[in-house]
């Protein structure tokens, strides 16, 4: 082969380029984005909990604040992200070892259906107390 000498450059934009792509790619994009979001949230979550060191007054003020609508909606979104990442992740453990990988597309939709069902119920549980 006497071919060109051009050396290509790493292009991570391909991770988020779903044009012409199919279900497996969408699952990957979702998994990557939700994973990074959850890691960012873990840092925030741990940092915010430092108010526990301040005793009851600080913490209970925080909790009252966090029981307000914007934060409850944030919790609902958090549960959605957790469910998508977690249930797609269960699929990946099995698919990643070759179990059912020729049905990976169907497993993805099954995981998302399960996520949607749990999400509907937990959304009700989170928002119901704020209703009254």
């Amino acid at each position: 082969m006497s071919e060109g000498e051009a050396r290509r450059r790493p292009d991570w934009r391909a991770w988020f380029a779903p044009r012409g792509r199919r279900t497996g790619m969408w699952a990957f994009v979702l998994n990557r984005i939700t994973g990074l979001l959850l890691l960012a949230y873990v840092f925030v979550h741990l940092a915010v909990l430092s108010v526990l060191f301040q005793g009851p007054a600080g913490y209970d003020r925080l909790v009252r604040w966090m029981s307000s609508w914007p934060f409850l909606l944030f919790d609902v979104a958090l549960v959605a992200v957790l469910l998508v990442h977690g249930l797609n992740g269960v699929r990946l453990v099995f698919v990643g070892l070759g179990a059912g990988s020729h049905r990976q597309r169907e497993w993805f939709w099954a995981a998302m259906a399960a996520a949607a069902a749990v999400f509907a119920y937990t959304t009700y549980l989170i928002l119901a107390p704020a209703w009254r």
């Binding site: 009851p56 913490y59 269960v90 107390p129």
Partner: protein, 119 residues
Amino acid sequence: MGERGYSVWAWLLQAFTGLLLVVLVALHMVANHFAKRGLLTYRDVAALFADPYWLVLQLALLFAVIYHGLNGLRAVILDAGLSPAGARRLDWALFALGAAMAAYGVGLALSIGGWLGSR
């Protein structure tokens, strides 16, 4: 990075902590959101963490989250292409970050549960 088989363990542990997290996060959410109507008060949290079983579950959650999250981040960064030296530096940086998070998290859990005396 050199040793053979190292990546097998990293992947297996990622899968294992992932499955574990599905259970532990579910418990965590149930206790914090769904066991009572609304969020827990300081007193509720202190009572939970004074229970050794709950403490152990939450520490397991902490360690699993740290490994799964940082190893996931490691995979994302490695996907972008790193030199072996860069990958080694990344491993040390993530290890230090994980250790700091673990120390902080354990301190927090023991403190709120009253396990450090003086409360």
